[in-house]
């Protein structure tokens, strides 16, 4: 067993930087399943984010950094943002579909037989050209 007799003094600031500590204690170190099991994926997710942390939340906020508030995995407030975004996306798609339907309705007028046939419009285009 080797002792620490020849160990140099820690580097100035060595090991005191929070980003370096978090990187090691969250991302390195042996993984042993304890009795209290936390999904490691959660921790790994944090690792990715927290690799960047300097001093504290306050400090980060002072610097104008608050990504965790927008991250669904880290904040419940962000789930609302995510929902709002999804909502908006859905609304946009509905509008698109409505517009397409209107356009198709216009194309199909005068082609009574085909109306409501439910063919995919690519196929119909080809058939119409073929005639």
């Amino acid at each position: 067993m080797t002792t620490a007799s020849r160990l140099p003094e820690p580097y100035p600031q060595g090991g005191s930087n929070l980003a370096d500590i978090l990187e090691r204690v969250l991302d390195k170190g042996i993984v042993i399943a304890g009795d209290i099991r936390i999904n490691l994926l959660d921790i790994e997710l944090l690792t990715i984010k927290l690799r960047l942390v300097v001093a504290s939340v306050e400090r980060a906020k002072e610097m104008g950094i608050d990504w965790w508030e927008d991250d669904p995995a880290l904040s419940s407030g962000a789930r609302r943002t995510a929902l709002a975004r999804e909502n908006e996306e859905l609304r946009r798609r509905v509008e698109q579909l409505e517009r397409r339907e209107l356009a198709e309705g216009g194309d199909a007028t005068g082609d009574g037989e085909r109306r409501g046939g439910g063919e995919q419009h690519d196929g119909r285009g080809e058939r119409e050209r073929d005639r």
């Binding site: 067993m1 080797t2 002792t3 620490a4 020849r6 160990l7 140099p8 820690p10 580097y11 600031q13 060595g14 090991g15 930087n17 929070l18 980003a19 370096d20 500590i21 978090l22 990187e23 090691r24 204690v25 969250l26 991302d27 390195k28 170190g29 042996i30 993984v31 042993i32 304890g34 009795d35 209290i36 099991r37 936390i38 959660d42 921790i43 944090l46 927290l50 690799r51 960047l52 942390v53 300097v54 504290s56 939340v57 980060a60 610097m63 950094i65 965790w68 880290l74 904040s75």
Partner: protein, 272 residues
Amino acid sequence: MTDDLRYVYAVCRPLAAPLHADLTGVAGEPPRQLAHEGLVAVVSPVPERDFAHEPLRAHLEDLDWLAATARAHQSVVAALTTVTCPLPLRLATVFRDDSGVRAMLEDESERLRRILDRIDGHVEWGVKVWLGDSGDGAGGADGGPEPSAAQPRRVPESGRDYLRRRRAGNAAREESAARAEVFTRRLHGDLARYAADARLHPVQSGPLTEAGSGRNILNSAYLVPRARSEEFLELIGRAEGTLPGLRVEVTGPWAAYSFTDGPDGPEAGGTP
């Protein structure tokens, strides 16, 4: 106390001396040694209200709690590192009671002994290389390859001048980045040859890294025999300052956090 859980920091061989009496762990309690068949788990009691599954999950999303716990975890591991070569566990490894810890030491015995043998007599040094960002003067101070630095900022300039200056700046940045890469590859190669083992970690990036650090282009760890640590640091010292605009940062000595995955770890070898 009977309701308390057991937080395990590290596993090591039996220690010659007791742990320092002033040392405190993650919940403010002093850690102690729990020996079982030639292995020692360093443990401290932690309250169930903080470390049972649900509260622990919630705490892990609290940056301040996480930071304090991470520091406490590391301070125990660091204290151990001055007297032995501990095998550090990942943050928040928690058992119900002492017998759970003993069972773990027994079940994991082979793996733990294998890694302890491998890291015995070694410490981990972290090395990061930072490339100074343009504009803010970081790294470019000693006549670095940054033509825009010579241009006084407040003088109004035409759009064309601005574009010209930007192009020149971009070219200089590309050139200094290429030189930095050569430097970094060589440094990592030299250090990895000297070390017993090496790992390349993802570079630290983003606005939360130390302000003014520049861009992190190397983030690596080296497993170095204690007795050769000074020479290892001299090796870095000699490389340091040979390329303006680059800063080499050394951290450690750490416990062998980065070398707990066996000799052919996922990040082993390679070039940056």
